[in-house]
Assembly symmetry: C2
Homo-oligomer: 322 residues x 2
């Protein structure tokens, strides 16, 4: 039976899973991410953990069909990771380096948002669809497009970056990316909280959000669900802008399914019931019945997607050495 | 040597070409398009013309490797044409019907904008690129995406419909499609003329456009090139909104090349010199050097793209009968 290591490298934590062919995570580990310009120490940390898992499970390196890695930065088709803001790495052929340090092949790498989308496509909410757009509503807004089990990479590695689609050409405030009017400014957790704070400041309307010591996007969604008028205005605005972005993406790729993930997706059906009509308002009549569903894998999407990178031959830039 | 019939069915004219394997149009014909709910009379007209061409060229039906047809309506992956506003047809499996009426197989069909994009990808300005977004700036704004010689169809047949991407969420006027704020309202020939007229009406600024009896988008571009300040405002606005749309499309598919076609593309390098900086303003720094080029095939894109449908096995829903 085939085993894969799925590794989700985040800015603070590295999640590691020993994943079966069928997408079961048999063993899980978490390590802190060492910051610095050189990825080698991080890869050595990973190597040690993988060796521990192999020893505990009575497995040899040869029993592993490959390693998949999700990384927090843009990855192009040639297997180059183009820097990670959160960790400090520059441009690096990470798959090749990892294979050398760890001694298991092949090593496949992919951008974390795209890899999570692949995880959902292969093992989660995208199962059975030929094509899928995933949108991750977290601190920022990420995304990924999967066509027939393959990540759509794009020429510059930005395909699926729906968070930086311009939605409002009149916006005066800047997005974290430097542009103005990006979806992320409206539909991310950060954007939702900022808008709530602004509305609270601008008016003196009663709101359950008014006296919260530290407001989170979850608080705003919960207040909206509870009938808070100001919170409802905030989430309606976020959903409306997201509806425009999903429709715009549809006019370009028109996937069979749209999967909504990330922290904000915990608002569940209440969120979907906001997003669906906002989307339908923006599309041709015959596109209105598109399936928009919630992500199913939660925090496991990265590890499972990383394993799926190897299974589906995505991002394979270091060959299996026999 | 293989021959194909490439047929571009428009609302008023049907263009027919006998196309060689290498993309040369050997024989050309044009017929008027008979309006009505039933496509059969139109297909009979086409059959007669094809038989004339075969007789003149000393060819048999068996010498033809297939027929490609570009049609002015949405086509889904199952080979169904979902109505044509301009001709009057409803939903029809046009390829199968055409094969029965004409007696040549296979017959491949595709949406006209997507087929023109395929023509440019295979024989024109997209040659050599793995992926291409084509945008057609005509009376409306059309588009198509080609990945590795295949039209990206999408689930509902709208993939590539960049003209109906929402660019301005505050727009109060309606697009022809019923939505508000579509790219087509700003970057089509119609949109450019409307904006010029509005600016002329709102102010009394001197402009060479002021006393034209019937203004065309070409007049506006020519006036801008000649230094007319009002005309320059109009084309800068169109280019800015197009830049947003191209960047937004890039965040979704991120093609290797962008090809600009349609009547307005006759403004040539002057147009490109407006579009490129408008695009670059909207994208991540590492995406700024994307190739944006003018279409190369002019009015032949439809006929050549239709032939390419057969050559590349696109939209093939009627099999070759031996």
């Amino acid at each position: 039976m085939s085993h894969y290591f799925g590794i989700d490298i985040g800015g603070t934590t590295i999640k590691i899973g020993l994943v079966s062919e069928g997408g079961e995570i048999g063993v899980r580990r978490e390590l802190p991410t060492r910051k610095g310009a050189d990825p080698t120490p991080v890869l050595q940390d990973i190597r040690m953990t993988l060796e521990e898992i192999l020893a505990e499970e009575g497995l040899e390196r040869a029993d592993i069909s490959g390693i998949g890695m999700a990384v927090p930065g843009p990855v192009t088709d040639d297997g180059i990771l183009h820097g990670t803001v959160n960790i400090g790495w520059g441009d690096v052929a990470l798959g090749q380096l990892a294979q050398k340090v760890i001694g298991i092949s092949p090593v496949c790498i992919g951008n974390d948002a795209r890899v999570a989308a692949l995880g959902e496509a292969v093992y989660g909410a995208g199962r059975g669809a030929n094509s899928m757009l995933m949108v991750t509503l977290g601190t920022g807004v990420g995304g990924g497009i999967i066509q027939n089990g393959q990540i759509l990479m794009g020429e510059s590695g930005v395909a699926g970056e729906i968070g930086h689609m311009t939605i409002d050409p009149y916006e005066t405030e800047s997005c974290g990316c430097g542009k103005k009017g990006c979806l992320e400014q409206y539909a991310s957790a950060t954007g939702v909280v900022q808008r709530a704070k602004r509305l609270l400041q601008e008016g003196d309307e009663a709101s359950s959000l008014r006296h919260l010591p530290r407001m989170s996007a979850e608080d705003v969604w919960a207040a909206a669900r509870g009938g808070d008028v100001l919170a409802m205005q905030v989430v309606d605005f976020a959903a409306e802008r997201l509806g425009i972005a999903l429709a715009n993406a549809g006019y370009i790729v028109d996937t069979e399914r749209i999967v909504i993930g990330g922290g904000m997706s915990r608002a569940g059906d209440f969120l979907l019931n906001k997003i669906c009509p906002a989307y339908q308002k923006q599309v041709f009549p015959h596109c209105r019945n598109k399936e928009i569903v919630l992500a199913a894998l939660g925090n496991d999407a990265g590890v499972l997607g990383a394993a799926a990178l190897v299974q589906k031959g995505n991002g394979k830039h270091s060959e299996k050495v026999e």
